[in-house]
Structures are given as C-alpha cells and as structure tokens.
C-alpha cells in the first residue's frame, strides 16, 4: 500500500500532457459524472447563497434588500460580480452538456424498450431528473429575464446601479401566473436537488452503509428547506404579507 500514500506528482507528470489526461477523463462516463457532481456542488452553493440574500426581504427594514442589491451592483464590486457570474455560467454549461451527453449514450444503450417495465425502488425524483432539469433551466432563463434584465415586466430603479428590488419582486409576484411558475419550478428544483444532493457523493465515490442513509435524509431536508424558503416569498407577496 506504500504507493498509494505517496501522492505527490512528479515533474514528469507535466511532460505527459495534462490536457490529454483531462480529455480522456471527461470522455469516460465516470469522469462526466464527477464533473456533474462538482458543478452541482457549485450550483447548490449558489442557490443557498441566493436564497439567504432573498430572505432579507422579510427584514423589518424595508430598504434592507435594496441596500444589499446596491452593494452587489456597486461598480467597485463589478469584477467580483462578473467573475462569479462567469464561473456559474461555466458550471451550468458543463452540468448541462455532460448530462445531455450521458443521456444520449444511455438511451442508445437500450435501443429496444421493454414491453413491460417496472420501476422497482426508483424514487420519482430520480426518474424525473431529465424533466426537472430542463424545466428548472428554463425557469432560470425566465428568472433572469424577469428580475435581472427586466424583459418581462418593467423594472424600477432607485438610482444608477441601485435596483428597487423590493418593488420589482412585489409587483412581479402580484401576478398569479408569475408566482405560479416560480412555485412550480421550485418544487421541481426540490426534487432535482434531492436526487442530486446525495447522488453527487455516490458519483465521486463516497458511500458507506453507516452514513449513506443519513446523507439521503439530509439531502431531502436541505432540498425541502430550499423549496420552502424560495416558495415563501411569492406566497407572502400574494397573501399581502410583503408589500411595497
């Protein structure tokens, strides 16, 4: 076992083209799954951070969320903001491209369907990843068009680089169609995250009879909490609890 403990990479490793190695790694389905797991972690991290930011709308100070938005949009933070946006975009692209490639390969692995096929233990979430994924992706585009670019409903600004988030959110969610779509997408996101959150551990090789069942429970709890947090905002607006 000696050779497994020494993990330093020697100079000669550089001579064996690392790009080659990365390509070979990505070509393997297990490599693609690892890419999906790592990009998945990044995206979940963002979803949680985004939710925590959004929850400021419940602050007793109605201007709190607008101050937070002004801080993010402050030109001196532009570099960091665009850096994060580009990293997230890259993660989204990698996550989607690898999942589509795997899906295609997996579909071709069984050209003739079964006449009858039971889904023995399959969770609904696991079976519907291919539906929840694209719908959540479509939702993300809608969400950016709605609250970032203002292409769906006109957005208000307090000043330059100071969006009036509170007004934009409340006016948007007073529309039942918009709220309905947000809530629907968050339920799908919850299912996607439930399967994804524990799957990512399996994909990078973390599985243990003592911890995996707890991991699945933890994944369900985190996914449900994220959905509750996100759904609460349109519901609170429609119930008149959050106003402008």
């Amino acid at each position: 076992m000696q050779y497994r403990r020494k993990q330093d990479i020697h100079m000669s490793a550089v001579a064996i083209n690392p790009l080659n190695r990365a390509v070979r790694f990505y070509e393997a389905p297990i490599g693609k799954k690892a890419v999906m797991a790592v990009t998945g972690v990044m995206l979940v991290g963002y979803v949680i951070g985004h939710l925590l930011g959004n929850l400021q709308i419940y602050s007793s100070d109605p201007q709190q969320i607008n101050r937070y938005a002004a801080f993010l949009h402050n030109p001196s933070n532009a570099l960091a903001l665009w850096g994060v946006r580009l990293i997230l975009l890259a993660a989204v692209v990698l996550h989607i491209v690898s999942s589509v490639q795997l899906w295609q390969q997996n579909r071709e692995a069984r050209p003739l369907r079964y006449y009858k096929k039971a889904d023995v233990p399959t969770s609904y979430a696991a079976r519907t990843m291919l539906w929840s994924g694209p719908i959540v992706a479509a939702f993300v585009i809608f969400h950016v068009l709605h609250l970032t670019t203002g292409s769906i409903l006109p957005l208000h600004d307090i000043g330059p680089n100071m969006p009036d988030v509170r007004y934009n959110v409340v006016s948007g969610f007073q529309n039942y169609w918009v709220s309905g779509f947000y809530i629907f997408a968050m339920i799908l996101l919850c299912m996607h995250l439930y399967h994804g959150l524990w799957s990512m551990f399996q994909s990078v090789g973390i599985s243990h009879p003592r911890y995996t069942s707890k991991l699945k429970k933890g994944a369900a709890i985190v996914a449900i909490l994220i959905a509750i947090g996100n759904c609460s905002i349109p519901i609170a607006v429609m119930a008149g609890l959050v106003t402008y």
Binding site: M1, Q7, A34, L102, Q202
Partner: protein, 254 residues
C-alpha cells in the same frame, strides 16, 4: 392453477420478435419457474411447434445462466432470487406474466429469451482478474487479510454475472457488475498491484461494449439475486478517480 404467459418470441438475432400468448391450465405451485417453462415446451414440442429458448444450467441459483424479465422485473418479483429459484407458489391463479429477454445493446438476443452475454466475459478479460505467479502453493495465512475486507470481498464475489443489473437499469449500465468485480479483487492484498490499471481497463471496455452509465437509480441493487450493494459502484468511481488523478499510470519512472 392457471397461468397466462406472454413470451417474447424471436427466431434469431436478425429476426423481428413479438409477444406470443400461451395459456397453462395446470401449473403446480411446487414447480419452479423454469419447470413451468419446461412443461410449456413439452407441450409445444408435442404440437410440433418451436419450443421457447431460455438459458439455464445449475437451477440452484449459483451459475448465473438463467434469467428473464417477468412483468418488467429481472428474475421476477421475489427479491434476492434467480429465476430458477423462483417458485410458482409466489403467483396467483389466473396471473398474466410477461416474459422478455434482458434488453441492452450490449446483450443482443440470440433467440427468444436467450441473450448473448459475452460482453461480460470481455469485461473480465479486460481487467477483472489478478495476475499470479504459478508454482508451489504459498503458505496459508502468509498474506494477512482483515476479516472485514475478506467478508466484503466475499460479498462482492457472490456476483454470478447473470446480467439482471444491466437488464433492470434504465440506462443498461454494467456498473453493478463491474463494481462487484472491482470490489471483490480490490479489497484483497492480491488485487492491489493492478488496481489502477484494472478500473481503467474495465471502464474503457464497458464503453466499447456500449453499456450505459450509472445515474444512481438503484434498480440493479433491487433485483440483484446476490444482493450486491450500490456501494460497490461508489467504490468503482473512487478507484477510477484515483487511477486518473493520483495513480501513477502513464508516468515515467521515478
């Protein structure tokens, strides 16, 4: 009891297949599933028809030859059981059963319910072995193996290579089979020297055979007649990541 069977009939690999209905009016509850098929075949032969081709050998649940889908479940409804060990007492009078061969691009149908599983043999030939020096037998217990590892290795070695995992997987992936072989060998000291090379070679071969890949669904684990656990797939993933990024394959000597 009366059993109605709908069986996939396909004359050869090139022919198109279809489901054909057969009715068995007198099935004894003590019969095994394969014995019921034997009765059907005797009847078909008596009528001058082509009997249903199905694979079998030991009929004791240990060789891995038998198996087909019964109402969409590999090896039928009883968990942890091969088709030959499934008995008709687990069915009800009047049940309609749909029998289909394992379906995967890597497992082409030979005839009726018989599929060609040599893709599994090629996976083993690619890396599912250990190289040993022949010669006089080594002393017993000269190589120490922790009890837990011996048990887990033995659990993985219970895999009989029947192919139910591939058949049940929505992606027709051979991950559970490969994971079982990799865990069986990789948990023992004798499996260490080729551990990195083994996972790389088997993974590459699985792609050449056009098996699908794992999406962590768990249907394989549910139908495995030997109760191989999903954990072996995580272990394979770990071995693969190790071989790619930390292992020394492809490096020049120190």
């Amino acid at each position: 009891m009366r059993i109605v069977l709908h069986i996939w009939r396909q004359a050869n690999a090139a022919a198109a297949g279809r489901m054909v209905r057969y009715e068995l009016p007198n099935v004894n509850t003590h019969m095994s599933f394969l014995e019921m098929l034997d009765i059907l075949n005797e009847d078909l032969i008596g009528r001058g028809e082509d009997p249903v081709a199905f694979d079998h050998d030991c009929r004791e649940g240990i060789c891995g030859m038998c198996g087909c889908m019964v109402n969409g479940v590999a090896h039928g409804p009883l968990p942890g059981t091969t088709l030959c060990q499934l008995h008709m007492r687990h069915f009800k009078d009047g049940d309609e059963l749909y029998l289909e061969p394992w379906r995967a691009r890597a497992f082409p149908v030979v005839k009726d319910l018989v599929v060609d599983r040599s893709a599994f043999d090629r996976l083993i030939a690619a890396g599912g072995f250990i190289s040993v020096a022949t010669g006089s037998a080594p002393d017993g217990n000269a190589i120490l193996v922790p009890k837990e590892n011996a048990d887990r290795s033995m659990d993985a070695a219970a895999c009989i290579g029947c192919g139910a995992c591939v058949a049940m997987c929505p992606n027709a992936s051979a991950s559970l089979f490969m994971g079982a072989k990799l865990a069986h060998l990789g948990l023992l000291p004798q499996g260490q020297p080729e551990r990195d090379r083994r996972v790389m070679a088997m993974e590459a071969q699985a792609n050449r055979e056009l098996f699908g890949s794992c999406t962590n669904i768990g249907e394989c684990e549910a139908v495995c007649p030997k109760d191989i656990k999903l954990e072996v797939i995580a272990r394979m993933n770990r071995d693969f990541l190790h071989a790619n990024w930390i292992g020394r394959g492809g490096l020049k000597g120190d």
